[in-house]
């Protein structure tokens, strides 16, 4: 599947993933720091994903000195 990463924006191909949770494991990312978006909709960690999906992993951490 195609995975869109941000900060900066880039795309990678990921294989062998059947659930959102697998995606975090494979990329070694902390779910608390990201939203998972497919076709403009948020996905929870248990949702199935397929090889034809385009998934955005959007980081939620922002801001410098508050």
């Amino acid at each position: 599947m195609k995975v869109i990463l941000r900060q900066p924006r880039r795309e990678i191909e990921v294989e062998g993933v059947s659930k959102v949770a697998d995606l975090f494991k494979q990329l070694d990312l902390v779910p608390e720091s990201y939203l998972v978006i497919r076709d403009g909709e948020l996905l929870t960690i248990d949702m199935p994903v397929g090889p034809d999906d385009v998934i955005e992993l959007r980081p939620v951490i922002s801001g410098g000195s508050p």
Partner: protein
């Protein structure tokens, strides 16, 4: 996962509340959290004139939407920092949001109205870009609020911002900062406008989710000047802990505000504020930190132009 309210498919899991929500019930949940915060800390009354500091990021635009949905009339103030494409994109998101909802937006352009950008201030002084930006925002937003006759300056600091700031102040054991960190900073006779943070019960991930659900376009890319800054690193560490112990960030912050902070009350002190000799805004010294930053930066810019 199913929504805890209606059993439809959930779009977000809020582990510290042991709850999953569908989109409409998540929006209700966030509205309730913010309303509860406003009442609990007596942040403002419906008759108060409110102005919100907006940056074009998820927190301030989500908060503008939430407060408007809750029935408050809130104007916005945007500070253009002069950070290239990042600033022009942020401004565009802010303007589009305000126009689509018919909200009043005031824009202060730091390079045009004051004479320097944040990158120029960081290059000309000993301050980091984040420090120069924080100082400029505090100064300009207070000035706009005071001159506009507003009662309250509303800020979009979320749970993660406050927990990360607290974490930094604890690592340094900075008693004065620990004494002052609060959801409400009262007005001061010297000219400081009352400042409030209605998002402190809402995690950063939740303000981002709220923005996506509500169709709010915001600046997702990080400020190029803030890359790798300390506060963001603290946020990553706290999120790694939160992953193992849901609720840790909220316990850390609200445990401190309820039980820890009273121990630092004696450090709050009674700082005498006087009018800055140059601009008249409140300061503890003769000339305020912003006027010193401006003077130093403008001198450097003009000496570079001359050479």
């Amino acid at each position: 996962m199913k929504c805890k309210v209606c059993r439809d498919r959930a779009v977000i899991q809020v582990r510290r509340h042991n709850a999953n929500f569908c989109a409409p019930h998540f929006v209700d949940h966030i509205h309730r959290q913010v309303e509860k915060t406003i009442h609990h800390y007596r942040m403002f009354r419906p008759s108060d004139r409110l102005v919100l500091g907006v940056s074009g990021g998820k927190d301030s635009l989500a908060l503008w939407d939430i407060l408007t949905e809750l029935g408050y009339r809130v104007d916005g103030v945007y500070l253009h920092l002069g950070i290239g494409e990042y600033s022009s994109d942020s401004l565009r998101f802010t303007q589009e949001f305000a126009e689509s909802r018919g909200l009043d937006l005031k824009i202060v352009d730091l390079p045009t109205d004051v004479g320097f950008s944040i990158p120029q201030a960081a290059a000309a002084t000993a301050r980091t870009a984040c420090s120069a930006c924080g100082l400029s925002k505090r100064y300009i937003l207070n000035q706009v609020a005071a001159e506009g006759g507003y009662d309250v300056l509303v800020m979009g600091h979320n749970l993660d911002d406050e927990a990360a700031t607290l974490f930094g102040n604890v690592l340094q054991w900075n008693p004065e900062y620990l004494a002052r960190q609060a959801p409400v900073l009262p007005a001061d006779d010297g000219g400081l406008i009352r400042k409030v943070k209605p998002l402190i019960r809402v995690a950063e991930r939740e303000t981002a989710a709220y923005a996506v659900i509500r169709g709010i376009e915001y600046e997702v890319e990080e400020c190029p000047m803030a890359a790798g800054n300390t506060i963001n690193r603290y946020k990553e560490w706290l999120n790694a802990l939160e992953e193992q112990s849901p609720g840790l960030k909220a316990n850390f912050l609200f445990g401190f505000l309820d039980r820890g902070q009273p121990a630092f009350a004696s450090h709050r002190g009674s700082v005498e504020l006087a009018a800055c000799a140059e601009c008249g805004q409140p300061t503890t010294g003769e000339v305020c930190a912003f006027c010193r930053l401006r003077r130093q930066t403008l001198v450097k810019i003009s000496s570079r132009a001359a050479s």
